[in-house]
Each structure stands twice: as C-alpha cells, then as structure tokens.
C-alpha cells in the first residue's frame, strides 16, 4: 500500500500539488505491480473531494478527525498517518511546507530516511529517487532503502492526471487518540497576515527587478526612474540585499517576496532558481541581460540583450519622449 497525505484548500478541495503526488504514487504503484494507493486527509472529506480522489485512482480515503486535528500540529498528523498506514511500503506527500514537515515527523517516528522534493524514481530495488537540492539548481540521486519509504514530491514534478480507469473510493473516518506530547506544538491562532513593507511589491502590476548587474548601490537611479515611470515597484535579487545595496524587504525570491505582477522586468538578474521561485507566476517577463543564455532570459517571454545601464536609460528616454 502507498499512503499519500492530501492537503486541502480552505474550501475542502485537494490542492494541485497533492493531486500531482497521487499521480506520482500511481506511477509508482504501476511499477510495483499495482499496490493500492490510499489517501489521508485531515477533517471530514466532502463528497466532491472523495470523488476527485477516486478519479485519481485512490482506493481508500482515510479521514483524520477529532479535536486533535482541529488545528494543525505536525506531530499529531504524523501520528494519525502512522495509525492508518498499516503495512504500507510508501508514505508520501506533496513537497509543501506541511508535506515536508509531516513526512519528516513520520520518518523520525518510524526511524527511517526521508527524501524531500522528489522528481522521479529510477528503480524499485534499490529504490532510487531523484530529488531537487540547492533550491532546485541541482539534482540528487538518493537511495531510499528503508521501508516505509518516506518522501515528498516536488511541485510540478509531474502533471496532475486523473487515472485512466478510476474505481470507486471508500472513506474510512478515524478519530485516533493523539498523545499529549504530539499536541504541544500546534497552531494556536491563525489570522490574515498584516501588510508588511513589501506589500506594494507583492501587489504591484509592474515590478522592475535588479540584480548584481546594477553594479553597486549607486547603480539603481535609472531603475528607480523606470519604476516611477511605470508606476511600479522595485524588486531585487538576493545578491543585492546581501551586499547591502538595497533593503531586504525589496527582495524577490524563494525566501523573499513572491510576486505575480502583470509584467516583471528583471534587469541584470541571471535567474538563479531561488529568485525564479519568487517571480515565476508573473504574467509576462521582460528580461534585460547581457547574457543571452542567462536562465532568466531563456525563461522570459521577452528579452533585450544588453547592459541595463545602457538599455534602461534608453527605455526611460523613449517613455518620456512618447509622453
């Protein structure tokens, strides 16, 4: 049996990455001779959710319910999964913060290894997975010899595809006892986040980005002018903040702000994965870079090849001219 933790939206639907994880589990099941795929959800599942999971080939939906699951506690979730996993050979989740956390709890409790952000597997015996490391900039082939094999599936490693021949899924509702120790660290309150300094950055329709190509803390004048002309916000890469050229709250990336503007104009940003993670949902990307092979250029929708210190003033001048 393969057990997949499925996360749900506030309205109770299976999130896309969890459906991807089930898709991944199904291919693993097929490679392993058709072992069944079970899902674990927290809370009473809606009929729609059960139907969705069934369409993805899930045989049984285990629902963890009761006071212990009313608010999130990683150890409690892990304990619940352990209670239903039986003799399953694989316990897995999507590579979300929750997914990674709960799988880490499961692995620690079971005394087995865990692989985070798996993209694919290349064999069952031994079970070897390929996973993202260095924020996705490199891959690791990792042997996962322990049973159960515990891992998470990286977002968009596979496309979420319903099963070709889905069957019905039955629902088993559990209300397990959870040890007090597993409930010590649990969410005690959750609220709408307060707007922070990067608020305008996150909501801007246009973001002008700047990387090490700015050259120095004095190299931002033209970029700020362009930002002004476009009524947008300035976003910068991690190098820029780590050098102290611009404040942290302007940072875009995996660990900075994640932005989704209509247009992102990264200037002199090579496009390390950690930066890409913060801007990949922009509708359009116009990269300005000297290197036509820079990842940011190849991933962009539009690009200008050239130094930002030459291109940006020319754009500013052209905008002013047309005004």
């Amino acid at each position: 049996m393969i057990v997949v933790l499925v996360e749900t939206t506030p309205s109770g639907e299976a999130v896309e990455v969890s459906r991807e994880a089930i898709t991944f589990a199904r291919s693993l099941s097929e490679a392993g001779g058709g072992v069944p795929v079970d899902a674990v959800v927290v809370g009473e599942p809606s009929a729609d959710l059960v139907a969705t999971l069934a369409s993805y080939g899930v045989r049984t939906v285990h629902a963890l319910t009761g006071e212990a699951f009313a608010s999130y506690a990683g150890a409690a979730w892990a304990s619940g999964i352990q209670g239903v996993r039986g003799s399953s050979v694989v316990v897995m989740a999507a590579g979300t913060p929750r997914g990674n956390e709960v799988m880490a709890h499961v692995a620690a409790r079971e005394g087995v290894a865990m692989a985070a952000n798996v993209l694919s597997f290349s064999g069952l015996a031994p079970f070897v997975v390929t996973r993202q490391v260095v924020g996705g900039a490199a891959l690791e082939e990792m042997r996962l010899g322990d049973r159960p094999a515990v891992f998470t599936v990286a977002g968009h490693a596979v496309e979420a595809v319903p099963a070709a021949t889905p069957g019905p899924a039955d629902v088993q509702v559990h209300a397990p006892e959870v040890a007090a120790a597993d409930l010590v660290a649990r969410v005690v309150s959750s609220e709408e986040p307060e707007p922070d300094l990067s608020g305008t950055l996150k909501s801007a329709k246009v973001v002008v980005g700047a990387g090490r190509g700015a050259g120095s803390s004095e190299g931002f004048a033209d970029l700020l002018e362009l930002t002004d002309l476009l009524g947008g916000s300035l976003g910068v890469s991690r190098v820029v903040t780590s050098l102290g050229w611009r404040p942290h709250h302007e940072q875009v990336g995996q660990t900075g702000s994640r932005i989704s503007p209509d247009l992102y104009i990264p200037c002199g940003i090579s496009g390390a994965i950690q930066h890409w993670a913060g801007c990949s949902t922009a509708k359009h990307i116009l990269a300005i870079n000297t290197d036509p092979d820079a990842p940011m250029v190849t991933k962009a929708s539009y690009a200008v090849i050239g130094d930002l210190h030459e291109v940006v003033p020319a754009i500013n001048a052209e905008i002013r001219r047309r005004q």
Partner: protein
C-alpha cells in the same frame, strides 16, 4: 536562558551552480561559501531573543568561517563538530546537535527550516525527537517570555502562531527579520572567541546520496526585442501593448 543556534556552511548558490568532479557536492571555489539564509535569520532571532547564544555547526575545518560570522553578529560561544558534512545524513546531524544541546543545557534550539544545499527539511524535527522536545517548524518570528516560545509564520491558513513551553526546537524560515551585518568591533570580538572543537559522537550512516547532477536546461520560447539601447522603442511598444504604461 541559553540558546543553541545551528548553522551550516553552504556554497553560495546565487550564481551558476558548479559541481565537484566526484559529483558529491557543490563546488564553492567560484561563488564562495555562506550560511543558509534561513540560518542567518535564526541567528538574528537568537540575537534578538538575547542571553547566552551558542552557535554550532557540523562541518569541515573551513566551516569556522561561518561560526566566526555568527559570533561577529552577537553569538557568544561556538561549538564546531569537525566532520565532513557530505558523509552525514539528516539523522546523523540531528544526533550530533542533540549531543551538543544536552551537553550545553540549552533551553532553545534554533535551526534553519532546511539547508540551502541538501534541502532535507528534517534535521530540526529529528532533533526534537532525539531530545524529546516539541518542535515548531517553518516560522519566521520567534520570541520568548516566561519560559514560553511564541513563534509565527505564514501557513496555508494565514499567519499562524504557535506557543510552546521551553525547552523547544524551532526551525526558521527567512523573511521575518533582517539579519544584521557584522560590525568591525563585532568581527574583532568574534576573532577572540575560543571555538569548542569536538569530534562526532558516532559514525554517520550517511545521506543516501548516489550523486549530484545538474538539471537539463529548460526549453526557451523567449522573444528577443533587440540589443542594447536600440531596443528601447520595441520595449516601449510592448509596454503600451501590455497596457502597463502609466498615461
């Protein structure tokens, strides 16, 4: 109140990633080495919490550079478990941290949520089980009052807050605080701190790594608008077409 904050020397991956010849690690000779961003924030949080702060790492001899960097911004003591980090898996590292934590009588252990290189997402949690302490994972602010840690961060349900009694383990995500830069006096003070060097307490079982490889380049369908300053009219045409030009 004493805090143990755990850091890892990692290759700075903001530029093109280069692997070592044996494919077992990222090559840092061009980009240099740094402390993971999450851990820089963990250090900053520890400094803001105050009290005695021990910074520790498990790494080769060069990792002392990262310990000194943490000392330079306010940590007060340092423990260096000298070992080749490539041969240590997450469970091995958790065990070594637990030994240091127990030995030092710390009340709070802060770690990064995940290491910038190996991205295992589990050392803090395994550490908590080793110690039998509660663990709060993936938060970006931490404060301590009356023996209780209050920690919060972004979660799927909004801004989530945890309150756990000490002793506890907390893993930190970047973004809640701005790590400070070292000052000259801070750096000089750091130089004078004696670093407690230790051997690992046990043979590592290893990370299960077969090898590292680089991902294939993604296909590109970028439309090149031009080169240099001459591209400006085409760019402004596009801005107009996308309707982002303020009128």
């Amino acid at each position: 109140m004493t805090t143990l904050v755990c850091i890892k020397r990692v290759v700075d991956s903001s530029s093109e990633v280069v692997l070592t010849e044996d494919g077992q690690a990222v090559d840092g000779r061009y980009a240099g080495f740094t402390t993971s961003a999450h851990e820089e924030c963990a250090v900053e949080l520890a400094v803001q919490i105050g009290g005695e702060i021990t910074v520790m790492t498990l790494g080769d001899a060069d990792a002392v550079e990262q310990l000194r960097a943490a000392l330079a911004v306010g940590c007060t003591a340092a423990v260096h478990v000298v070992a080749d980090p490539q041969t240590f898996g997450p469970a091995d590292v958790a065990r070594e941290i637990a030994a240091v934590a127990r030995d030092g009588g710390h009340d709070l252990v802060l770690l990064g949520n995940d290491a910038a290189d190996s991205g295992d997402f589990q050392v803090g949690i395994r550490l908590a089980y080793e110690l039998g302490w509660p663990v709060v994972n993936g938060v970006s602010t931490v404060s301590v009052a009356d023996g209780v840690v209050t920690a919060s961060g972004a979660g799927p349900d909004g801004h989530e807050t945890y309150r756990v009694p000490l002793p506890a383990v907390v893993t930190v995500l970047e973004g809640g605080v701005e790590p400070r830069y070292p000052t000259v006096p801070g750096r000089m003070k750091a130089k004078k701190v004696a670093i407690d060097e230790r051997r690992p307490t046990a043979e590592p079982t290893g990370p299960g790594r077969v090898r590292l490889l680089l991902p294939p380049p993604a296909p590109s369908d970028v439309q090149i608008l031009g080169k240099g300053a001459d591209a400006a009219p085409a760019v402004v045409d596009l801005l107009e077409q996308l309707g982002v030009l303020a009128r």
